[in-house]
């Protein structure tokens, strides 16, 4: 029962993800870095997935990924603030503020208009960053090594620290998203998708719910961007380019809406697939990606997670 709204057991899957994160710590460094960037990006895909529950496709989620990344980058590289205890909250806050302002406008729109507006705003930021020569234009800029609550790990230990930071924040992000989905505002997202008029007549404003989901997704994506910037030590405008946003949508579709960990795990699968596909058939990568998408949409309209959900019941 309750195939759509029941998230009571999702804590279990976050625990499984936590175990995988710990296992990942002992994997070869290339693989571990793959997991790390996949987790950071997965947080953005999770933001896209939350909006999809309300029937809304954000084709510009890269906007907040980029805002989070540049918030970290600017503070670390230009303002000399290099501690994660300040950088990550700044990434989340910058994304939240922009999200609240844009949310006022976007919460009025639905369907293709929502998709196109989110895309448009993200491309405006892209255009601005490309013009900003002081920020490296299309090349972006590098970010100095960061400290962890005052502690500066030595060169060799840095990857361990940034991996651990990413794991902890992404898990916290998943738990936050889960608490949101289980709250009234989150539980009603499906109702927004299905029948807004009915929902208003029951005493709730669909527009407020859309405003909230947009802001929640913005924060998650801002954190994802901040983590990605810390992990890679670099930011560039590509973070808010439409192909990046498209990838978040791709992963959210691939994953399905059934669990908060699904987009994170799906992002890792995608990165793995990409790595091996590029190795084995460098010119067929797009072909493989497209076929995978086609297969999921046709065979598993509720995404890969429906395989897990089916195994459960």
């Amino acid at each position: 029962m309750m195939p759509t709204l029941d998230f009571r057991r999702d804590h279990l899957f976050v625990a499984v993800l936590a175990l995988l994160v710990i296992v990942g710590f002992f994997l070869p460094s290339w693989m571990r870095f793959l997991i790390q960037t996949a987790m950071a990006s997965g947080l953005v895909a999770l933001g896209v997935m939350l909006q999809m529950r309300a029937g809304l496709v954000s084709f510009g989620q890269g906007l907040f990924f980029c805002i989070g990344g540049y918030a970290v980058g600017l503070l670390a590289a230009k303002a000399g603030i290099t501690d994660v205890a300040l950088l990550l909250p700044a990434a989340a806050l910058a994304a939240l503020v922009i999200g609240l302002v844009l949310g006022l406008l976007l919460s009025r729109y639905r369907e293709i208009f929502y998709a196109m507006l989110t895309l448009a705003v993200s491309m405006i930021l892209y255009g601005l960053l490309v013009k900003a020569a002081s920020l490296g234009s299309t090349d972006g800029f590098n970010i100095p090594a960061v400290s962890y609550f005052g502690f500066v790990p030595d060169q060799a230990a840095r990857p361990d620290w940034s991996y651990a930071l990413t794991g902890v924040v992404v898990l916290a992000g998943c738990l936050g998203a889960l608490a949101y989905l289980r709250s009234g505002a989150g539980a009603m997202l499906d109702a927004v998708r299905e029948n807004e008029i009915r929902l208003s007549y029951l005493g709730t404003s669909p527009r407020v719910l859309v405003f909230v989901v947009y802001a929640v997704a913005a924060v998650l994506s801002g954190l994802g961007g901040g983590l990605w910037a810390i992990s890679s030590g670099h930011v560039d405008p590509e973070m808010t380019y439409w192909t990046t946003s498209g990838q978040f949508v791709f992963v959210a579709l691939l994953a399905g809406r059934g669990s908060v960990v699904a987009p994170v795990m799906a992002y890792f699968l995608l990165e793995l697939l990409r790595t091996y596909a590029l190795d084995i058939a460098p010119n067929a990568w797009q072909l493989i990606l497209g076929s995978a998408m086609l297969a999921v949409i046709v065979l598993l309209p509720r995404g890969l997670w429906s395989l897990v959900a089916r195994a459960r019941t």
Binding site: M1, D6, R198, Y201
Partner: protein, 250 residues
Amino acid sequence: MSAPLFRTIGLEKTFGGVVAAKDISIDVMSGERIAIIGSNGAGKTTFVNMVTGYLTPSAGQILFDGHDITGLDPRQTAQAGIRRSFQIAQVFAEMTVLENMLIALIAGQDGRPSARAAITPERIDIARSALDRFGLSVIADTPAGTLPQGTRKQLDIAMAAVGDPRLVLLDEPTSGVSADEKMAMMDTAIAPLDASGATILFIEHDMDVVRRYADRVIAFYEGTVLADGNVAVVLEDEKVRKYVIGDSHA
């Protein structure tokens, strides 16, 4: 002397050149059970849409419990205690019947973001007993989209009844239901609403249903109120018989 729970004063709605409602002035006392009759296009749904804030009246005023509620939106009228069901059932098709009721409960009480889980064992109990009252328990776990039209309408009414609203407007609760099921349908829908003390306005085409369940009738004709009063009197009214009920009933 008690004031009316609900009153409309000179309510009017025009769509471009079409006058869908004109000079509708009605007083409704608490606890009344009123049938609204009128042929298709008479303006019945438009009236319900104005009262619930889906449409803004072109002129006139709506008072509920002494407050002016003209111009409020559906969310606000719902919060004020006015709920409705729909001519074509409006349910969340992909959700189960129980989930539909849970959403109805949450939407009325818990719209703000909070850290608390919305679907609690208590809420599930409340939703289940509400389904029980409307005779829908056995299909609690059925997706609403797979239900026959009549059952879907019952769910729609059950959702409208959540939170014990003071005024419930039912738009053609028995349309799309087979003739021999109409009475049973009204029995299951009206009894729990009555028990909660709700004032009920229902739009109805079947005069047998009207006679059995209403204690007052308002007849609409071309956007105006043709007659308003005691059931027997209105149904015997010459103009009502001619313009609303039609010759087939004469």
